[in-house]
Amino acid sequence: MELSFSSEELAFRDEVRAFIRDNLPRDVQQRMIEGREIGKQDIVDWQRKLNAKGWAVPHWPRAWGGQNWSPVHEYILIDELQSAPAPQPLPFNVSMVGPVIATFGSDEQKKTFLPGTANLDIWWCQGFSEPGAGSDLAGLKTTARREGDFYVINGQKTWTTLAQYADWIFVLARTNPQAAKKQEGISFILVDMKTPGITVRPIQLIDGGHEVNEVWFDEVKVPAENLVGEENKGWDYAKFLLGNERTSIARVGVSKQRLRRVRELAAKERAGDARLLDAPWFREKLAGIEIDLKALEITQLRVLAEARKSGKHGAPDPKSSILKIKGSEIQQATTELLMDVVGPLAMPYQRSTDAEDDGNATPIGPDDAAYAAPTYFNWRKISIYGGSNEIQRNIIAKAILGF
């Protein structure tokens, strides 16, 4: 057994660090440190830089920009991006629809979509969830009716992240309402967001931000060649897409970065006559989270080592669910701790992007005060989406209890 990376892996890590240092705009990094939003163009520009370097889609097939790296290399890149912090390549593109098209799509689809998906010339959004189909995704009701060379889509998707930026949406829709099992009648279809009949309506979240939307489909005509793979096999592709996630789900780097930030802020805040960072009770709290995070990091590495042995697309490992559960709980604990550091100064609402902002021009309190509470509120989402923590526990229960 050996815990440390090989010298080759360490050299790669240094290369990633140097690349980030030399290429990531400072203002983007600073906004991310403070928990502020970053704009669409910043995300696009950064993904293009990564893509030019060959780092946007290293896990894809070689023909489409993949690097044939080991899972450890993939992890090192993601971990360094997360802890820099730098934007990660857009997950809807690189982890979701890209691998699905690369694996199940037609040659035509690969040529049409994959280069632009890697380079973020096409911004994808994920049209899976519906008001009635969240955890029970197979309960979805959106339909795609075949009419000659077209599918006609009707229904409503919701919680669609950044649909307001999206050029295309990948949709799960029911093509066979008569199928014996509800999973069997679903297809995976690519839809241009400019198609007539699509309406995007914003949903405001409790932190005041606009990151999710409702997407309505009213008689939306889509060329039949936009079906991915076979008709009525969409559920398999969706499962493939959702099970693909092993390297970034725990977001260890995000938590590392936030704990660093907690330390920085706590070194500036005072608790009585001393620095908050020096207060024993505070150090204990911080250390408690650091212990949890270290365990998660090693669990993450064990999952990766296993994947390296069994090949990346081996059977989903129930330990991936541990990564999701602990990863989200720890991230949530770090946002909570950051808010506690800011203390009463986290109370004023001072989002600068909100149109109804009452003009709190000069920030109140320390750096990060403005976003401490909103980030805490917003981060409650991560134990809900991507398979809620209850659903992840069901997966582990099935595995360990054998039912």
């Binding site: 969830s129 009635g132 969240g134 955890s135 029970d136 309960g139 919701t158 919680w159 949903i203 405001q204 979240l205 409790i206 005041g208 999710v212 805040e269 005072r270 608790a271 009585g272 006559d273 009770w281 709290k285 949530q332 909570e336 808010m339 506690d340 203390g343 009463p344 100064l345 986290a346 109370m347 004023p348 609402y349 001072q350 009452d358 709190n360 109140i364 309190g365 509470a373 909103p374 805490y376 509120f377 409650r380 989402k381 134990s383 809900i384 989406y385 809620s388 923590n389 209850e390 526990r393």
Partner: protein, 372 residues
């Protein structure tokens, strides 16, 4: 031992509940109130006055109703359930307690009737950039000048400070930044020369202000107390905010349980999943334990023994803070995505619970106070 309300207390609860049912029964209306210039609806404040709520904790001889902490608890719990936006806690409970315990009869005779009539709102300006939750950490100064004082300093997150007609400002007359001695409280006209304010909404929709005092002159007669008075008033405010938290938790649990019974996934109401049942149970357990502590706080709030009272408040606020975090987080989780939206009340209840923990000292702060 008796945990029942008297008939009068029940009447009070019913009249407050009725007021809020009218005004806040439709949650969307709250948005409209919050957008008004003061961050709340003045007409509702007038109704508080008409029902007698604004006179509740004051002595009859100053035009009050002589209510105690239990009456305040009753009002605050309803405020919590409805997420009412009016500045009852800062003005009537907190500032009111300072006036009751620290002001001269002349000041009481002048100010309390105005509060009772809804004509004056008062906010307590005590928090400073460096003070966190410590009431004795004061850099704002008050210097004697002729027959008055001159106040100089900055206060932050003054809850209710945006709409206040008067501010009660803690200021240091002598000693070092964290000395317990040398702190005095002054009733300052919010429009006095040298007072500047920047009002804002807070995360939970309530409003507050940053307050700067530059060479503000205050007559000697407007000195309304010292640190022990501030601490006593803060203890009463803590008891009140504990009751508010209990109201918020009760409403949030009711919403969550309702949602679980109606939300269907996998062909069944999600309330049939035992993992979720037990979570709801844990929320209920936490809220009932919190309610016990809110009652304990209310029944200890009138004690003249500062040490005993302070310990009771530290216990209660610490327990409430912990319960508030747990119940809030679980409620969002059990709702799934819908709990994360601005449109839906659950998220707002969660945000208020979060802010209650940060008000008057969070769970850690009070735990340490107790363990010290």
């Amino acid at each position: 031992m008796d945990f029942d309300f008297t008939d009068e207390q029940r009447l009070l609860r019913d009249s407050v509940a009725k007021l809020f049912a009218n005004r806040y029964g439709d949650f969307e209306k709250r948005n409209g109130y919050a957008k008004q210039p003061d961050g709340f609806d003045r007409a509702i404040w007038t109704e508080y006055a008409e029902v007698g709520l604004l006179a509740l904790p004051f002595d009859e001889k100053h035009g009050g109703f002589g209510g105690g902490p239990v009456e305040t608890m009753i009002v605050m719990e309803e405020i919590g359930k409805n997420l009412a936006l009016e500045p009852y806690l800062p003005s009537v409970v907190f500032a009111g307690a300072i006036l009751r315990h620290g002001a001269s009869d002349a000041v009481k005779d002048e100010i309390i009737p105005k509060i009772a009539a809804g004509e004056a709102i008062i906010a307590v300006a005590h928090t400073e950039r460096q003070s966190r939750y410590d009431l004795n950490d004061v850099t704002t100064t008050a210097r004697r000048d002729g027959d008055g004082y001159v106040i100089e300093g900055d206060k932050t997150v003054v809850i209710g400070g945006n709409s206040a007609d008067y501010l009660i400002v803690s200021a240091r007359m002598s000693g070092a930044r964290r000395d317990r001695d040398g702190i005095a409280l002054f009733l300052v006209d919010a429009k006095a020369e040298g007072v500047s304010r920047r009002g804002y909404a807070m995360q939970d929709g309530l409003h507050g202000a940053e307050v700067s005092l530059a060479n503000v002159r205050v007559p000697a007669s407007r000195r309304v107390g010292n640190l022990p008075v501030l601490e006593r008033a803060a203890d009463e405010a803590i008891a009140a905010v504990c009751a508010e938290a209990v109201g918020v938790m009760e409403a949030l649990i009711a919403m969550t349980v309702d949602y679980m019974k109606t939300r269907k996934q996998f062909g069944v109401a999600i309330s049939v999943f035992q993992a979720l049942q037990h979570r709801a149970v844990d929320m209920y357990v936490a809220a009932e334990q919190a309610r016990s502590m809110a009652i304990f706080a209310a029944l200890s709030a009138a004690s003249d023994d500062a040490k005993e009272r302070g310990e009771a408040m530290a216990m209660a606020k610490s327990a409430i803070g912990k319960a508030a975090r747990f119940v809030g987080q679980q409620a969002i989780q059990l709702h799934g995505g819908i709990g994360m939206t601005m449109e839906y009340k659950a998220g707002h209840l969660f945000k208020r619970l979060t802010m209650i923990d940060l008000q008057f000292g969070d769970a850690d702060h009070h735990l340490r106070r107790l363990a010290a």
